[in-house]
């Protein structure tokens, strides 16, 4: 990005000081390359969200002029926004990435949903179980994830290389020490490592980078008049085939999504921000965290940690 500009303006051959995003980029690229060098079969978890979009661009950069040397894995719960699926298919095709889509068809057929199961159990089946199955099926020993430490307080405890045992579980009380940028990739059979190249990025960094790099993202991030209902205390977008409960009334409001998860469990927010600069301006005024509109995070204190221990990303 701004490196190209440095090349044009810098004829003196004196290296310029890296700005904040360039420094983050350099670190992330190094992490991606290190993992590709050391693991037999890495995969990238691609959730279609803003963080995944940044991670994907970093992977393109890390392996340029070659192609991304690992597949992308999308764990599809069947509850993703249709716009997300459309974006996923078009974008991965455009950049020539290999995409694996995994669904827990058994649970989906059995009608797993957050209303009757509760978000914890629903996530457990459609996300965590499905993810662990997909990783096992693919024989992946490393999985890149777009999680950031600034997202949530148990994530703040995560290593860049996060070790998982044979059952895919995280033991936060016994993590490998991780000094400097010397990552320990050694595994026994069946064990794996989650690699988090965006560990040190903040939400603001992600938006600034999306802007600076002109990275396409799912249109749901931008404010627009959308039909919605209020359900479970949050603004839920209405989509085809959705059954309205008694008393629910569809209305239209100008809203956007601050983070993208499953339709029923990710709330929309009122907003006028329909461009990246406006989103960033809005972000600077926020008093509440980005995961607040994600039902899964506050079932109880520490629920993210519980999910992560079980193998959730």
């Amino acid at each position: 990005m701004t490196q190209a500009t440095a090349l044009e303006t810098d004829t003196t051959l004196t290296p310029a000081r890296l700005n904040h995003l360039q420094a983050l980029e350099a670190e992330s690229i190094s992490i991606l390359r290190e993992a590709v060098a050391e693991f037999a079969r890495p995969v990238m978890l691609y959730s279609i969200g803003k963080d995944s979009s940044v991670m994907l661009r970093l992977a393109q950069k890390a392996f340029y002029p070659g192609k991304i040397p690992f597949p992308l894995l999308h764990v599809d719960t069947s509850y993703k926004f249709p716009e997300m699926i459309a974006f996923r298919d078009a974008y991965t095709k455009e950049i020539g990435a290999e995409l694996i889509v995994h669904r827990n068809e058994e649970a989906i057929a059995a009608g797993a949903n957050p209303y009757t199961l509760g978000t914890q159990n629903c996530c457990g089946l459609l996300k965590t179980r499905s993810l662990l199955d997909a990783l096992a099926e693919g024989g992946f020993d490393a999985a890149f994830g777009g999680a950031r430490r600034d997202e949530e307080k148990s994530r703040a405890k995560e290593r860049v290389y996060s070790f998982r045992d044979q059952a895919g579980q995280w033991d936060p009380k016994n993590q490998r020490p991780e000094l400097w940028n010397l990552y320990n990739s050694r595994l026994r059979k069946g064990e794996s490592i989650r690699v988090f190249p965006l560990s040190n990025w903040t939400e603001l960094d992600i938006w600034l980078y999306l802007y600076a790099e002109k990275i396409p993202i799912v249109p749901l991030y931008f404010a627009k008049e959308r039909p919605l209902i209020t359900r479970g205390g949050q603004m839920t977008l209405v989509h085809n085939g959705m059954k309205l409960l008694p008393g629910e009334e569809v209305r239209t409001e100008k809203v956007r999504m601050r983070s993208l998860g499953c339709l029923p469990c990710t709330g929309a927010m009122r907003s006028e921000a329909d461009t990246l600069p406006k989103i960033i301006e809005e972000l600077l005024t926020f008093r509440r965290s980005e995961r607040e509109n994600r039902a899964i995070d506050h079932d109880e204190e520490g629920s993210m940690e519980v999910k992560k221990r079980e193998g959730y990303f």
Binding site: D10, H20, R159
Partner: protein, 547 residues
């Protein structure tokens, strides 16, 4: 989009991106208020979202006195931490002010988790060492863990140390108490050779001198902790440093392109420069510095780039490009025998003679502990003799690696002077090393064999094993029928990683022998000793025992 808002936005972006980043870590003894201090810093700089603060307020746990919100819960993010009221593992938090961006590593004080403290401290520019004023007055001296952490901070080369004398509210905000503590800390720090030391009286609980100047301590006229963090000068990369470019990955997307990817660890790389590949010492010229955003004329620490060279030279992951101009002076040390300060991080002790795995830059090798030069008594800083190193102990250790490492002293360069030690069997990260230098003259010492082959001489195999064991090596005979010929290479390799010599009286097919040889050359310290046509005594001697 050419509106006024957009112009302002571009300005905002420029200002924002130009901000410096400071990484700092907390350190100190258990319960002296590290997490509370970080919580206070985040809270008073308005870096905490309302829903996060609300979650802390309604938490069942609250250890804060005087009806305060327990701000330590903002970083103690694990269930076990909240239940036990201690920090177990490092938490990373991010915040910024109008002056700087910050990455905080809030580390545990409990001795058991010293390794996690080292994790958080390894990349820090500043260490904030907390000292509980009340505990100090009670003990009359610094707590052992405060000393240990300060010592580790100095070993890790953290440029600035600031002691936050905490819980001043519990000692009546008394200036004499602060002075006594400051005197002792400054004395200790100067013994460690720390150059930049600042001492600030604070109360994390009440917020004195964290972000806001203390009213209760009007006698103090130095900076608040935040002011200090916002203004302490940051080290800048020296572009006159010699070039170090460890190769991470060789990229060959097609037959026409072969690029060496990596992160510049030191110095500056320029297109057209003559470079030297280590260890082959072959020279070439930098043809292009390739990035997704276009080619660069120049790349410096810490940029991640891909280098294309003019010539097809032998270079792979774990090797290094340096400047050919440095061939006379300014090469890294290239040796298999080195000295490092090691912080041991595992329940099972480091033992002289054991072999571990070492990761240094992008290079992974095996390393045998040849000796412990001295252990450091963290209380007195005296050097004491030792032949093993228990968890959390620190020593200068001599290592012999299976392949040469290319390094600078840690005091010169964190990135080319640091290493980690890994247990070959459990794969745990068990030690952190700061390289001091090479071992002077290791002449006359043979190394232990990796594999001893004595086809058809079963009795000799046993004799070799006994001889090796008698000299303190570990060795096994692998003639067991359960080990198939197919598994032979893997077994030898596994033993090698564990620092155990393999001995066999099998007659191997030539192809298998070639395979073993190839495999061993790739990773082993020792060699294959072949007993063919050599008498028994000579085989035992060649098996690699020190004379």
């Amino acid at each position: 989009m050419d509106t006024v808002a957009t112009t302002n936005f571009e300005e905002f972006l420029d200002v924002h991106l130009a901000q410096e980043l400071l990484r700092f870590t907390t350190a100190g003894s258990v319960d002296d208020g590290k997490s509370t201090l970080i919580g206070r810093l985040l809270h008073d700089t308005k870096s905490v979202y309302e829903d996060q603060l609300a979650a802390v307020k309604k938490s069942r746990v609250n250890r804060a006195a005087n009806g305060h919100v327990d701000l330590s819960l903002l970083t103690d993010g694990l269930k076990a931490e909240r239940e036990q009221g201690i920090t177990i593992d490092v938490a990373y938090r991010y915040f910024s002010t109008s002056r700087r961006k910050f990455i905080i590593a809030d580390t545990p004080g409990h001795e058991q988790y010293t390794r996690n403290m080292a994790t958080g401290a390894s990349t820090a520019d500043v260490a904030v060492v907390l000292i509980d004023a009340k505990a100090f007055l009670r003990e009359g001296k610094l707590l052992p863990q405060s000393r240990r952490h300060t010592y580790i901070a100095s070993l890790l080369g953290i440029p600035h140390v600031v002691a936050a004398v905490n819980k001043m509210d519990l000692v009546g905000y008394a200036q004499e108490s602060f002075r006594a503590i400051r005197k002792e800390f400054v004395e200790f720090a100067s013994k460690l050779g720390l150059k930049s030391v600042t001492v600030i009286p604070v109360s994390a609980l009440e917020g004195d001198n964290v972000v806001t100047p203390s009213r209760a301590m009007s006698w103090y006229d130095g900076p608040t902790l935040l002011e200090f963090l916002e203004t302490v000068p940051l080290a800048v990369a020296n572009h006159n440093d010699p070039l170090r470019f460890p190769v991470q990955l060789v990229q060959r997307p097609d037959a026409n392109f072969r690029g060496f990817s990596g992160q510049v660890a030191r110095g500056v790389l320029r297109a057209g420069d003559r470079v030297l590949a280590l260890p082959s010492r072959r020279e070439s010229t930098v043809k292009r510095i390739v990035t997704w955003d276009g080619d660069l004329h120049v790349a410096a620490y810490p940029q991640s780039v891909t280098v294309e060279l003019e010539d097809e030279i032998d270079l792979s992951r774990g090797e290094m490009l340096v400047s050919a101009a440095d061939a006379e002076h300014g090469l890294p040390e290239i040796t298999r025998r080195l000295r490092a300060m090691v912080v041991w991080m595992h329940e099972e002790a480091l033992v002289v003679g054991r072999t571990y795995i070492v990761k240094h830059t992008t290079r992974t090798v095996r390393a045998t502990v040849k000796s412990i030069r001295y252990r450091v008594d963290v209380g007195s800083l005296d050097h004491v003799q030792a032949d093993r190193l228990a968890m959390n102990e620190i020593a200068e250790v001599e290592l012999e690696t299976s392949l040469p490492l290319f390094f600078d002293a840690y005091s010169e360069s964190r990135s080319t002077g640091s290493l980690i030690l890994i247990d070959g069997l459990t794969n745990a990260t068990i030690g952190a090393g700061m390289i001091v230098g090479t071992v002077e003259s290791g002449a006359g010492e043979n190394e232990q064999a990796t594999l001893v082959l004595v086809p058809g001489r079963a009795a000799l195999a046993e004799r070799v094993r006994d001889a090796l064991e008698a000299r303190g090596h570990r060795a096994v005979v692998i003639d067991d029928a359960l080990i198939s010929d197919d598994a032979f290479v893997a077994v030898v390799r596994a033993l090698e990683l564990a620092g155990v010599a393999a001995i066999s009286s099998r007659a191997l097919f030539p192809e298998r022998l070639a395979e073993v040889t190839r495999s061993i050359q790739g990773f082993a310290a020792g060699a294959i000793v072949s007993g063919d046509g050599v008498d028994d005594e000579e085989v035992v001697r060649l098996a690699g025992v020190r004379t």
